[in-house]
């Protein structure tokens, strides 16, 4: 339903993202995992046409048979909201502070459905119940600052699914929330996408979270998608050396590029640090931090297909089939 081919997002001469291919079939949940600054969020926003204003898109994003790259602002706006829902990263900043939350959700319905006033209000209350907000009728009239961060995210989720979109784009939807609330919100998103049979693009920096939510996982490094595989396979048998390093470095923990915050410490577990955008080496972008790099890595590795739609973009991948 969503197919990306050679999507490039650049600001001026600087190319932030180049995703060679990515597919999201109908009803399937695909996760993008990567360190902060890897370009995963920009990719997700670009699909919904929400990339930063100065960013330029090139390549192709086909959604439900329609090319999204190059659409006018107005045409893109009609796709967004109606067909693609978006859940933002920081709910505490994503609601308009001067407007009550009910009407903010109602606006999404007004824009994307033919419902009348009364029906819209009823639908908002229904949505509030669906995202399990307490006392929907009372909450309708609250201002964003009067409700908690978790409740704000529920309101934003209600907004995203209001018009029953075919694709939900969630950009690190739990990063800004308290640990205790994170799981509830994840479970809610997962349930909703199942119940409404929505496809989903789910972005996170925690592999464990993505694995819990998604069917397929793509690993992003330096603005490139370097590996793509079913969720079960990727943790058990990573193929790309970067993925391997991510998981191998912390075997006992839910796989992720960083030790989750619960431990109270954060540290990167791979040699060196992520270069700044534009400072990546030519060829394989990971090669300056990779223990297996050779001269071959100075050219861009091709996409090597594996089982069940999986693929890897690496000159020296971990041998298929066996554990690392």
């Amino acid at each position: 339903m969503l197919a990306i081919r050679d999507l490039r997002v650049s600001v001026g001469a600087l190319e932030l993202v180049h995703i060679e291919r990515l597919e999201i079939p109908e009803g399937r949940r695909v996760g993008l995992v990567g360190e902060s600054g890897s370009g995963k969020s920009i990719t997700a926003m670009s699909i919904a046409g929400l990339q930063p204003r100065e960013a330029r898109l090139a390549g192709s994003v086909r959604f439900a048979g329609r090319e999204l790259v190059g659409l006018s602002d107005g045409d893109m706006a009609r796709v967004r909201g109606a067909r693609i829902g978006f859940i933002p990263q920081d709910p505490t900043r994503a609601l308009n502070p001067t407007t009550r939350v009910g009407p903010q959700v109602a606006e999404a319905l007004r824009l994307n459905t033919p419902l009348g006033r009364g029906a819209i209000r009823a639908r908002v209350l229904e949505l509030f119940a669906q995202v399990r907000l307490p006392e929907p009728a009372a909450l309708y009239h609250r201002y964003p600052h009067q409700i908690s961060g978790g409740q704000q995210q529920r309101v934003l989720i209600a907004m995203a699914i209001a018009a029953r979109p075919a694709l939900l784009v969630a950009d690190e939807p739990t990063t800004a929330l308290d640990v205790t609330v994170q799981n509830e919100i994840l479970r809610l998103i997962l349930e909703l996408s199942r119940a409404e049979r929505m496809a989903m693009l789910f972005v996170s920096h925690e592999l464990g979270v993505v694995r819990a939510v998604c069917d397929d996982i793509g690993v992003v490094y330096g603005g490139r998608l370097v590996e793509f595989a079913p969720a079960g396979a990727i943790a058990a048998r990573p193929r790309h050396r970067y993925t391997e390093a991510l998981i191998g470095a912390n075997p006992g923990l839910p796989a992720g590029d960083e030790i989750p915050r619960q431990s109270g410490r954060r540290f990167t577990v791979i040699d060196g640090s992520v270069p700044a955008a534009g400072r990546f080496p030519a060829g394989c972008r990971f090669r300056n931090r990779c223990r297996h790099a050779t001269a071959a890595c100075e050219t861009d590795p091709p996409i090597a297909p594996g089982e069940a739609g999986a693929w890897v973009k690496c000159w020296h991948p971990v041998a298929a089939g066996g554990p690392p």
Partner: protein, 341 residues
């Protein structure tokens, strides 16, 4: 970002009328009353302390002592100062402030008659400058990021540097003397001829609002550029709005709050400008009467008019303070709490 309501989720607050809003209104009203009392005392004291003998101010320093004594008696200047003060303030409630010594007119009557032109001029300029600033500032923020900024900066600098009365003179020359489109001065009462009244106010309002429009435009532009990067603009786009529509729908209201703050700070300047502009365009307003009274050394008229103009500023302040509360729900919740809460 704790998953706890920040505050203000008790059931009685869920509907529009927040009891804290009432508390805010109460506090603002108290401030208004106290400010008015202090202001009136200051005006009263300034004239008494700096001017010395009011009778001699009117009669001239060489007046014979008997005449001065008679004048003091006539004006009630022999009474204790607080009696004089209370008598004067009381006059505003009974509608009898006294008569002009040289002009012979009833002061209270004149104040009432002249409130119209002054408030139309001041409020008109305020409204015009806010609306124009929102329009130009938003347009330039949306449509040209750097060139627009330079142009707006230039406009703001010129707008401040051109004195309102000079702008008034230039406008009169162009539109009244050369083109003959608009009257050079004078005023048509609004109730007699609304259209004519507005026409007679076009140039004064243009002259008076020029400077504050320029300042506010620069402010709106910069606030708008900030708002454009807010996450809630992206949320509005995610709902299916284009960037421009999202900014207009969700950004404008958020920008209006700081613009109101700036406008409130400028109110004093606005009234000061109104006094000058009335004299450029010979509008029969409070400022014109005030200047005539100053030249005639009519202490009672001057202090009464000064108080009325001060009250206009304080009341406008009061109204604008309350209107932020309506525009920005966070302020009502914050200000309504007990001090240092």
């Amino acid at each position: 970002m704790a998953d706890r309501p920040a505050r203000g989720t008790s059931k009685d607050e869920r509907q529009g009328m927040n009891p804290r809003v009432l508390l805010v209104i109460g506090r603002e009203t108290l401030t208004l009353v106290v400010s008015a009392m202090v202001g009136s005392l200051v005006v009263f004291a300034l004239l008494r302390l700096l001017g010395g003998d009011v009778a001699l101010m009117i009669l001239g320093q060489e007046a014979p002592p008997e005449a001065a004594a008679a004048m003091r008696e006539e004006l009630g200047l022999n009474r204790p100062w607080f009696v004089q003060y209370l008598d004067w303030i009381g006059g505003f409630f009974t509608g009898d402030v006294g008569r002009s010594y040289s002009g012979g007119y009833d002061i209270f009557e004149q104040i009432v008659a002249r409130l119209g032109p002054t408030t139309l001029l001041a409020f008109g300029s305020l409204a015009v400058s806010i609306l124009l600033a929102l329009a130009i500032g938003t347009y330039s923020a949306l449509n040209s990021r750097n060139a627009g900024g330079t142009a707006v900066d230039l406009f703001a600098q010129l707008g401040i540097a051109v004195p309102a009365f000079w702008a008034g003179l230039l406008l009169v020359y162009l539109f009244a003397v050369v083109l003959g489109w608009l009257p050079a001065g004078g005023y048509v009462p609004f109730l007699e001829d609304p259209l004519g009244s507005l026409v007679s106010l076009v140039l004064p309002v243009a002259a008076l609002s020029l400077g504050s429009t320029a300042v506010k435009t620069r402010f709106v532009r910069s606030a708008m550029l900030d708002v454009m990067n807010e996450d809630y603009i992206r949320t509005a786009m995610a709902k299916g709005r284009t960037f421009n529509a999202a900014v207009l729908r969700h950004g404008l209201r958020n920008v209006a709050i700081p613009v109101l703050t700036v406008s409130t700070l400028q109110l004093g300047n606005l009234m000061a400008g109104a006094v000058v502009i009335e004299n450029v365009f010979v509008l029969p307003g409070l400022g014109r009467l005030l200047l005539v009274a100053v030249q005639g050394r009519e202490v009672l008229v001057v202090q009464s008019l000064a108080l009325v103009i001060l009250m206009i500023v304080l009341v406008m302040n009061f109204v604008m303070d309350l209107s932020y509360g309506l525009l920005d729900p966070r302020i009502a919740d914050r200000r309504g709490r007990p001090a240092h809460g």
